[in-house]
């Protein structure tokens, strides 16, 4: 029996992340502990959020919890493998007593609690152990809404050009083949995914940019669901069904690879299961492996993966593409190599002309599309923010989006 993902990926990753800081725990942390009523308790999913990329916005500036050179207006405490605390610093000129009611109006700190599964997080929200969380699954949000009225369920459109996709490692011995990647893209029933699991609350994606983007490429080739074409492509590439388990093989090598995906998230599990079904149907054996966000990031950065289910937001620039896929030289995380892409990427560096830049980015997208460097699945419409409205007020800005935690106001309880 294989060891579970918690054993294989999460624990090492968390230990690696938290190792040096654990010395602080528990004595100092206990001394600095703030009452629940004075902090925002943020629920995080291990599969969704990489601790190292967590940031806190204070006075219109984003501060990474860890790293960065700038002085931070808060103190970070690691209380356990699942709990991180941020205590805001009180400005020197604002040294009011702790009991001051005006000081208690805004949260004095943030607790980040990590959960292994979305279900655990939802249970914690229903039990009001968590004040704020974000979810991808509308079904999960509905569960909360049915259970408690204390929470504000706030669907918010994710940042533009956020796309869910399957990325391939070009260093992999057969995923580097364009025919295989084309076959994989043709075999994924994206329409069914959007219909069945996203309840049609997403746009099918052909490339990284959404229709509203100036870089949206309308002429990209559609790799719509076509399993027959996928089979043809595979057979033309020499992948035949010779394995006793009906897995396609070539030269005795089975068409099998691992697919990393964020663990503990209902939607991702459903997506991966459907992708596995779709690929199984054309004789591709995929082994889904749930991993934490940190482990996934590490794997992607180091190129230690076959394929991965990734959600990424592409910056509206040529660098948005090159930062993710590499410059086409084969030196990036994905080992993506395409001379045309490399040339175009290089060209973009010297372009100041807006129209020229657009043409270059469009060209880069065409090349990525032709290569199917990634199977673009969909642009999600919604991210669900869950806010404890019984505990806080003033948590939304004028655009109806959540404010930085420090600006929230703690409701006075009667």
């Amino acid at each position: 029996m294989r060891p579970g993902p918690a054993v294989r990926f999460i624990l090492p990753a968390l230990l690696q992340m938290l190792g040096p800081g654990l010395a602080l725990y528990p004595a100092a942390a206990q001394e600095l502990a703030l009452p629940r009523s004075q902090i925002v308790i943020v629920g995080k999913l291990v599969g969704q959020d990489d601790y190292r990329q967590l940031s806190v916005q204070v006075n219109n500036s984003n501060f990474l919890l860890e790293g960065g050179d700038q002085a931070k207006p808060f103190e970070l405490l690691r209380r356990s493998a699942q709990l991180l605390s941020v205590i805001f610093q009180i400005p020197a000129g604002d040294a009011r007593p702790v009991s001051s009611s005006s000081l208690e109006l805004h949260p004095r700190g943030i607790d980040f609690r990590f959960f292994l599964s979305e279900r655990s997080l939802i249970s914690a929200i229903i039990l009001e152990e968590i004040d704020y969380a974000t979810l991808d699954s509308e079904i999960s949000a509905e569960d909360i809404q049915k259970a408690t009225t204390n929470f504000r369920i706030l669907p918010v459109k994710p940042e533009s050009n956020t796309v869910e996709m399957i990325c391939y490692n070009f260093a992999h011995n057969f995923l580097r083949e364009r025919a295989v990647r084309h076959a994989l893209s043709y075999a994924v029933n994206r329409e069914k995914i959007v219909r069945q699991f996203l309840l049609n609350r997403a746009d099918l994606a052909r490339g990284p940019f959404e229709k509203e983007s100036r870089f949206y490429a309308s002429g990209l080739k559609d790799f719509g669901y076509n399993p027959k074409k996928a089979i043809t492509l595979l057979e033309e590439a020499g992948w035949l069904e010779t394995n006793k388990e009906r897995i396609r093989t070539r030269n005795g090598q089975p068409l099998r690879f691992r697919l990393l995906f964020p663990e503990g998230m209902l939607l991702k599990e459903q997506l991966v299961r459907q992708i596995k079904i779709d690929w199984n149907q054309i004789g591709i054996d995929v082994v889904p492996i749930p991993v934490s966000a940190a482990a996934l990031n590490d794997s992607l950065r180091r190129g230690r993966f076959d394929a991965a289910l990734v959600r990424n937001r592409f910056e509206e620039a040529a660098t948005g593409l090159t930062n993710f896929f590499g410059d086409g030289s084969g030196k990036g995380s994905f080992s993506y190599a395409n001379l045309g892409f490399q040339h175009t990427a290089n060209l973009s560096r010297n372009l100041l002309n807006e129209n020229g830049l657009r043409q270059v980015v469009l060209r880069m997208q065409v090349l990525l599309n032709e290569d199917q460097a990634a199977t673009f699945l969909f642009h999600p419409w919604l991210t669900i923010h869950i806010i404890n409205a019984a505990k806080f007020e003033n948590y939304l800005n004028q655009e109806g989006l959540p404010r930085p935690f420090q600006e929230w106001v703690i409701r006075k309880r009667p």
Partner: protein
Amino acid sequence: MLVPRIPIVHRLFTRLLVSHILLVSIPLLIMGQILVTAAQRTIEQTIFERNLEIARRSSWPVRATLGRARDLLHLSAQSPTFLTSDRMGQELMINNLVNQYPIFKKISLFDTLGQEISSTAYGATINPMRRAEVLASVRRKQSFTSEVYMAEEKLPLMDIAEPVMVFEEVIAFLWAEVDLKTIWALVDSNLVGKDSEAFIFRFDGQFIAHTDRRLVLERQHYKAGDIISAIAGGGSGHKVYTDADGVEMLAVYAPLAEEKWGIVIQQPTREAFAPMRTVRFQVFALMLLGVIIAALVAALYTQQIVKPVNQLLAGIEKISGGDLKYRVRRIGRDELGTLALHFNAMTTKLRRIQRKLQRSQRFEILNKLSAVLSHEIRNPLNSMVINMQLMRREFNKAEVDHKKLNYFYQILSSEIRRVDDLVSNFLLISRPPRLEKAPQRLDDLLNNLIKVEVPEVLPKGIRVIRKYRTPGLLVNIDAKKIYQVFLNIFLNSVQAMPGGGRLTIGLDVYSRNVTESLKRTYAAITFEDTGKGISKEHLPKIFDFYFSTKKNGSGIGLAIAQQIIEKHGGKIFVKSKIGKGSKFTVYLPINSIEE
């Protein structure tokens, strides 16, 4: 119309109105109470039965959901496709099952040694304790269903397993984790009211599904032991009990015997029996409306009855006040209308009698006057004629005797004065006295009288005694005329005691009820002597004009006294006993000051 001043509770209108309202209200209240009681029982029974039916029926979809999960797993395990499929084909099937049926959290395929062949769980570990149980069951070629247990995620799960058999030999088994969260929605659909709760629990009381999710997540237990016992015994029914928060709840329960679960739907009795309260309110509102309408109708009807009675009463008051011309208006054709007709006829007759009486009184006065005239004028006239003849005879004599002439002249003058006095008295009687009223203390008036007269009467052996019980009484009177009255009575009393005696003058207050609500107050002035008294036959006549038992009495003193007193709105009475004395009482109204 003059309404009699009767306290409201004693009025005919009030009594009739109250009796009418009571006549309507009492049967209405009794009927309403009977209706409410009957409705209450019916509604209670209906609510019990309805809720119980909902509880029983709600167990069906739960059974169906679990049964479908078992059937799906069973069919998959027995499916020829599954049996003949390679690993990937089997993976495909179980992945499809999990993606299509959310009740399956994960499905795994194991060989008979308990080694995992494939799983939708992507490497999640499986509890080895449960694996032993499952293996034992499937090796006996039996399906397996575990107890409900709580996952780390705090959600209720249940394991089911089905053996995969070829030629009656177990070659593998499918093991599914059933996510019981899927039955939460079924429980939600069983709510019977806003504050109601529905839940499913194990026989040990632990909640599996609850409309309040927190109770499941917190792994709480249902604590109504008797309901749990009843369900464990396979019973279903209802119970009203008070929960831990002190809320009275109506709970209906039914067992899910196969799963060893129970289902309860409960709601606060205040909500469950709200329709009952509505019915009660409506019935009482209707009753109240009925009473109000009855009261209005009764008020109108009573008014119709009482109005002619009041008219008759007003008529009686008018007539008793002397207005015999008053006629009661036509007030209907009923008995009261007839009474009014008779009443009017009676007043007509009374008026006729009054006129006759007045006429006869006039005749009597004329007779009396003619008798007085014939007696009182003829005698002086005769005397005058005789003395005139004697004077003429004396004038015819040669030598006139002036002494005689003077004597005759004196007689003539005296007789003329006598006639003149007579005429003056007539005028006094015929002209009613004109009063000049002013506030006057009666004790002062009496004291003045006593002060003036006592020196005269003391030598005659008469002692005057004052008995003023309420001195200082102020009345609105013509003091001169009242003094004259008192003097008259005083002198009469003195004359009645020629051999001396005792005259007691009293002053007191006297009240009498004119009607039940009207009281009048009088000053009562008494002159009580110890004289010879007045005989019974003379007593009724002493206030008549020209009646006197005295030699030189004019017979007008007491008559005029009575006239003055009555003009003041008062009365004069006399009581007397021969040989004992007489008592004159004068009543003068005290409230006349305000008039």
